[in-house]
Chain length 447, copies 2
């Protein structure tokens, strides 16, 4: 009897600024002076591709910085242009951008993504988010952010418009008959969408991209966010502090998808993972502590006051975190507070340790250790059904991803858990996703 | 006494589909199968850079094709992504995209263009247009195009918002002080724009680009279009069938700019130029006639009926164009009809010849001849004050631009009218434009 092939791990590099640790830019030799240089971003993509990662993933925001632009870099170059340059600096790795359905016109978004998919020969992905701040709204003609329910309703409609547009100009309609027509316009399928948030006639003026549709990512954790993800997402950037919460999230997501008639195996749930890797666990801890020590404590405490609704300025840094009120009594953003409670409950950190834990990836799963122990943890989550893989959030860049690619990836490869070479050429193939069957495509094209 | 240096010619490559002749895609060996391949566009940019051209210029449209997608290719890839890839395939040439102020959110547009300017190290330009069709409006949530006056008012506001956003995050504010702040937020200059068409708080979340502001192109020929160009444009893509109309246009534009307190020398007026070049004039004419012969006559006559408001289906192809009513009696789009009248009046073409003239660049200046005679015509226009240079509209691509670069550019170089090497690194430098003095920049930065 042959043994079943071991479940493959999916890995994206979530590339952000100088790395995901809030003090990354303060460390000696950081990449802070390179953030406006496209060669920096291309280098990150090349390192990730050397590690045979599934995709490079970029977040996005529509204002100069929610955390305060004084405290560190967030946005420099615009992500679609960055990914386009990356597409030409690499050959196989997927390229995922974040797009706000609250602020983007779907015709422009569909067009840019279709074009990126053509330019990258089928490697584009789109992470649809609904945005979080009024500052972003004020950059786009709105006095404030629409409410949560409205934003999620718009996001669902946005995704459907994108899909209709991507399907609307089938490649097969391009006859390029030099004695006749260029396009057989009877094969065009303009979506003629008229909805609550958008009216878009179509067709798109970019032919259907190589993947049919770029791979759709989503990241919502609320009930409407999960429902949207269950309905549409092919990849999910999840937030989970520990295996238990990841497992609960993934199970819920899969159940929702199944209830909607989708095969849960066609959804890759990829929590964020902050991995500090070194030859010994002591060394990994020392490097992490060095980063933590560079964080201005006053800034971090001010952020923690916001996260907890408590005046933290009097808390003793090296004492345990004082008792916190239960989630039900907290009136601020609950997701983040729930994470704080979970961290305090699970590791009983000192105040200084809590600030450090929140500083790198703000509540995402964090592992500090040797290549083997990091690989162990990755396998443990995947084998437990808590994750299909991870969105890697290196504390520093490019160092953190170089370490991961050179030290952890080979361990996963030896264990038969991660590809040694790309087998396919598209992001959809890397993630093992099915081909797209367009809702609008003419019958003959659905074969 | 030294002779004054001869006035330098500005040259852009306006790259479009398989070339500007409507039958370009029908010719044997055309680039029609490569339009979705980024390598095609990169090749065009490299050829233009080999010729030391000022910029590569891309038009844009927001629907699948105003001329009818059956009749030939118009749009395939989206231009900002194409120019981003070109930026990485070249080193010096400018990269100009067209952006519709009627359909773009200015924060997104400012951000994409600023990012392109960073990625290209100061080579970005933006050609602001107001769009022309209801089909485009229906792709962006509008039942029909806003009226002409409203579109131009919006365009002026759009440009001012872009300028305010590009100025809003001065590079000098980025201290990256590892012991202190990343950005000195007191140096940010959010535009806080509240206008008729847009409300945008700012600042932009991309730092001020290398050129301060990407170079601003404009293309309007109507009175509001000219007024907008006189106020803001640094480069103008003009339409002129002959030297006289080009001279009249450029003189009017310069007078309007001077009246607004601008130095007319800081505006490069670059009419479209369709050049058919070959070793002999006979060969050039033969190649052109071959292209014309590939045009389906029924399609062209249908287009001419629209341009003239006449039933042209009964016109004899090899007879002179019948008498046409004066411009005042024509109720359709007047610009195109005026061009038809001007062509008929100046060259007395047969119907077939008129169809051919309109087929390549639709009323733009057309020269057919040897490298020397094409260079003569370019010099004649520039010396007469009818143009600062040209937006080259090769009838076929890449052949037409390869011919121009290999045959005409060396003649202009020998005559001291065109650069042999780039002197500067930015588009602003190529065009001899002054540095930007930001309206919003803090006093200390204006030095």
């Amino acid at each position: 009897m042959s043994t079943a092939p071991r479940r493959q791990v999916r890995l994206n590099l979530f590339a952000h600024a100088c790395g995901h640790h809030a003090a990354a830019w303060r460390a000696p030799g950081s990449s802070v002076s390179r953030l406006g240089e496209i060669s920096y971003w291309e280098e990150l993509a090349r390192i990730a591709e050397r590690g045979r990662l599934d995709a490079l993933f970029l977040a996005d925001g529509q204002s100069i910085g929610t955390a305060g632009v004084e405290r560190g870099p967030a946005w420099t170059l615009e992500p679609i242009t960055v990914l386009t340059a990356m597409a030409r600096a690499t050959e196989r790795i997927g390229l995922v951008t974040t797009v706000s359905s609250t602020f983007w016109d779907p015709f422009h978004a569909a067009r840019l993504l279709a074009s990126l998919d053509h330019i990258s020969h089928g490697r584009a992905g789109i992470n649809v988010v609904t945005s979080m701040t009024d500052a972003e709204a004020r950059n786009h003609g709105m006095p404030a952010l629409p409410d949560h329910a409205k934003r999620y309703a718009t996001a669902g409609e946005f995704i459907e418009v994108l899909q209709g547009l991507w399907d609307s100009w089938p490649a097969q309609s391009i006859l390029a008959d030099t004695e006749g027509v260029y396009v057989d316009s009877s094969l065009l399928r303009p979506p003629r969408h008229r909805g609550e948030s958008f009216e878009v006639a179509g067709p798109l003026n970019v032919p259907t991209p190589p993947q049919g549709r770029p791979v759709l990512f989503q990241a919502g954790a609320s009930a409407p966010g999960r429902e949207l993800a269950a309905r549409h997402a092919e990849g999910i950037y999840a937030v989970a502090w520990d295996l238990e919460s990841a497992h609960a999230y993934r199970s819920d997501l899969r159940a929702r998808a199944a209830a909607l008639g989708r095969d849960p195996e066609t959804i890759a749930v990829m929590p964020g993972l902050v991995a500090h890797v070194a030859a010994t666990e002591e060394e990994a801890r020392r490097v992490r502590a060095d980063l933590d020590s560079r964080l201005p404590v006053a800034d971090s405490l001010r952020q923690l006051s916001f996260f907890t609704g408590q005046d933290t300025s009097t808390w003793e840094l090296d004492a345990p975190v004082p008792p916190l009120p239960p989630l039900e009594e907290f009136t601020g953003p609950k997701g983040r507070y729930a994470t704080v409670l979970r961290i305090v409950d699970s590791v009983q950190p000192t105040v200084r340790e809590l600030l450090g834990l929140l500083a790198a990836g703000g509540g995402h799963a964090t592992v500090i250790g040797t290549p083997e122990s990091v690989a162990d943890e990755i396998e443990r989550w995947v084998d437990a059904g808590a994750a299909d893989g991870f969105n890697l959030m290196p504390p520093t860049l490019p160092g953190g991803i170089t370490d991961f690619v050179e030290q952890v990836v080979p361990v996963l490869q030896r264990r038969g858990r991660f590809r040694r070479e790309y087998e396919g050429t598209t992001l959809r193939e890397h993630l093992g996703l099915p081909e797209v069957r367009s809702v609008n495509a003419p019958r003959a094209l659905r074969a």
